[in-house]
Symmetry: C2
Subunit: 147 residues, 2 copies
């Protein structure tokens, strides 16, 4: 499943390929994505804010896409609506992003919205953690529409 | 001046070169930056949220860097602290980002903070506008430290 999603975004979103984004694993709680520091570096030798923003945005989009498949949406249009991101500490190594699967309750609400009005929003949280400390904390809202 | 900044970021931040970011013009009120749609496209044929986020983040960083030079800081460390971004409409053409120079009052406050404690924060607003409508509205906070 995640290699299919990786292939989809690498093919359709060139920047994800250029930043060397990889979808590593997914379980019931989280998706792990990575991108190497060397290509995503800034003038200070740490990870570029734009790359940190991109990895959290696309990883959260992948969760929304993953949920849409779990909810049996054959085809859907998924877009980011808004986000708030805190850059708490510099990222000094290859970027490892943890994106959390929303709570069952929130997925149930999304499911009923999709059934009632063919669209719904969901909030997704992603973090870049290094040495057990949160470096980037992202909270995004995504809109999913059946097509 | 802006070609020096463009050269600096293209050299030190590879993703800005890969996304084909260009610094087009600057005046007393705003910086204009661009990036072509074809390389920054998403699965829907519109601009990728990660690219929109990257262009607003780096353009605002450029304003902070520009201000640091205007305030005669020979060397400085400038990082993004946090941001809020609203994605109001899809961007369907090459990305044109307008980043606003903060108000004189805010620059004066930054100047006095830098004099008193060698560091300060400043809020910067960037927008992607297409057909006279705001598609992306970014508000970021940057931290500038004399080194």
């Amino acid at each position: 499943m995640i290699k299919d999603i990786e292939n989809k975004i690498h093919t359709q979103i060139p920047m994800t390929r250029l930043m060397q984004l990889e979808l590593k694993s997914i379980d019931n709680t989280r998706l792990i994505t990575t991108a190497p520091l060397h290509i995503n570096v800034n003038d200070k030798g740490t990870a570029f804010g734009g790359s940190l923003s991109s990895i959290t945005i696309i990883s959260s989009w992948c969760i929304a896409y993953y949920l849409s498949k779990k909810l049996n949406l054959e085809d859907s249009n998924i877009v980011i609506v808004k986000n708030e991101t805190k850059f708490l500490r510099p990222v000094t190594k290859d970027i490892i992003c943890t994106t959390y699967i929303p709570k069952d309750e929130d997925i149930k609400i999304l499911k009923s919205k999709l059934e009632i009005k063919n669209s719904g929003t969901i909030k997704i949280n992603a973090q870049v953690i290094e040495n057990k400390e949160i470096c980037v904390d992202f909270r995004g809202t995504y809109y999913i529409k059946k097509v």
